[in-house]
């Protein structure tokens, strides 16, 4: 343990001021579920840490058709909201009770694969990420947030402060495959959303986790779905496309081969839940 200073700002301006003053060597901590194990094991050795716990970023507010979720909202809080059922489902499938009480929605976006299960749902929901810095706020769509493995659009003088999620009545489904029923790293995580117009799919999102350097959308699969009625052959083709589009990796949880197979299978299962006649989650 080498931490010399721990800062606990009471507001966002104070947090941004500390970040500007202390520079890029200040470790920003939200729930601490990623950083603390690394610090305790001596892998991460920060001199200075800033905790965002008291910075007032932990509110969920509904504003018309948008759910504003503060960055340090815990996954337990997310589990208790009912505006967007698929986010509840994503939170339920992430980690364990004790971890969900600390882990934050904003922090989930920084959790490298196979973590980041909530981020997969946020990607399918077309959420916007709000970043705050000395120059004010800017909005980055989830689809553009990641720039690579463990890299993203957040500038070194910026903090992720809020997620803005459109509240719609589209069909949604969220499925996660792990090696255990709960509190388990993902083999593959799938979040799908379809909007309907006159019994045809007018918009489709297929988001995948743990099969790429960050949560990714299977754009080819999405294109196949638009205009369809989610017929079995369309679902089959979209699932095959999603498997092809995934860029899986091998780790202690699963091989790349298995992850790709499961990506196809779980996209198929998720879409089948949304097909006419099925009893889906969000329809």
């Amino acid at each position: 343990m080498t931490v010399r200073s721990y800062y606990l700002p009471r507001s966002l301006p104070e947090a941004l001021g500390l970040l500007a003053a202390r520079g890029p060597e200040l470790l920003v901590l939200a729930g601490g579920t990623v950083a603390m194990p690394l610090i305790n094991e001596g892998i991460s050795l920060p001199d200075e840490v800033m905790g965002l716990r008291m910075a007032g970023l932990d509110r969920i507010d509904r504003e018309g058709d948008v759910l504003r979720i503060g960055a340090t909202t815990t996954l337990t809080q997310l589990l208790n909201q009912d505006a967007i059922p698929v986010l509840r489902e994503a939170a339920r499938n992430t980690a364990s009770w004790s971890v969900r009480n600390m882990a934050t929605v904003g922090g989930n976006l920084f959790t490298p694969p196979p973590g980041g299960d909530v981020a997969v749902a946020l990607l399918a929901l077309d959420a916007d990420v709000v970043l705050a810095g000395p120059a004010g706020r800017r909005i980055v769509p989830m689809a553009e947030f990641y720039t690579g493995f463990m890299t993203n659009q957040v500038g070194e003088d910026e903090l992720l402060v809020e997620l803005r999620v459109p509240v719609r009545d589209d069909g949604t489904a969220y499925l996660k495959l792990g090696r255990k029923h709960a509190s388990t790293p993902s083999v593959v995580t799938v979040a799908v959303r379809v909007a309907w117009h006159e019994q045809r799919v007018s918009e489709a999102r297929v988001a995948l986790g743990a099969v790429g350097p960050h949560p990714v959308r299977a754009a080819g699969a999405e294109r196949l779905l638009v205009g369809s009625g989610l017929e079995p052959d369309v679902i089959e083709a979209a699932a095959a496309s999603a498997a092809r589009e995934s860029r899986p990796f091998t780790d202690g949880i699963a091989t790349d081969w298995y992850r790709r197979r499961m990506a196809g299978l779980f996209v198929r299962r998720a879409l089948e839940r949304l097909a006419p006649g099925a009893r889906g989650e969000g329809r």
């Binding site: 890029p24 200040l26 950083a35 490298p112 690579g148 463990m150 890299t151 070194e156």
Partner: protein, 164 residues
């Protein structure tokens, strides 16, 4: 850790090679680069800060261009050192014409020491690849003709392979 990859840039070979040897250009394109100075004919020293999930740090870095054949090829060796450990390695890059642009092929080998070596190798390798891609994208957008080739090329203008 071994790393190799290919990337296509929009600028011509001589512009790309010049950028690789220009401290000001390197400062602008290397992710997290705080400062860099040329300390010899072909030696550069600088500092790189990285803010990663759960891990922050600043690394002193020294890079030497040990052999070169402008604007076709260069051999680099260098080291990165900070509180989290060190990375020492060698790399070779080759530049060839690709239409109006330049194809860069690189290959290198690095040894990781200190706490960094205790990270899951998938993380260090994934991150190295991600930072190289980002640096090359930055270089592409900074040089004349940037972005155009990548947009016109096939699905993936970048290929990379990393082996522990």
């Amino acid at each position: 850790m071994k790393i190799r990859g290919t990337h296509t840039l929009g600028a011509r070979r001589d512009a790309v090679f010049a950028a690789i040897c220009d401290p000001d250009a390197l400062l602008a394109v290397i992710p997290g680069c705080r400062d860099i100075e040329q300390v010899g004919d072909a030696e550069y020293r600088g500092r790189i800060s990285l803010r990663l999930p759960g891990v922050v740090g600043t690394y002193r870095t020294v890079v030497r261009l040990v052999d070169s054949d402008p604007p076709a090829r260069g051999d680099l060796e260098g080291e990165l050192e900070g509180s989290l450990g060190s990375i020492r390695g060698r790399a070779t890059f080759r530049l060839t014409d690709a239409g109006e642009g330049t194809r860069i092929d690189y290959e290198g080998e690095a040894v990781i020491g200190g706490p960094l070596a205790r990270f899951d190798s998938r993380f260090v390798e994934g991150l190295a690849g991600s930072l190289i891609d980002q640096g090359l994208r930055n270089m592409d957008s900074r040089l004349p003709g940037g972005g155009t080739v990548a947009l016109e090329s096939q699905d993936d203008p970048t290929t990379r392979e990393i082996r522990a």
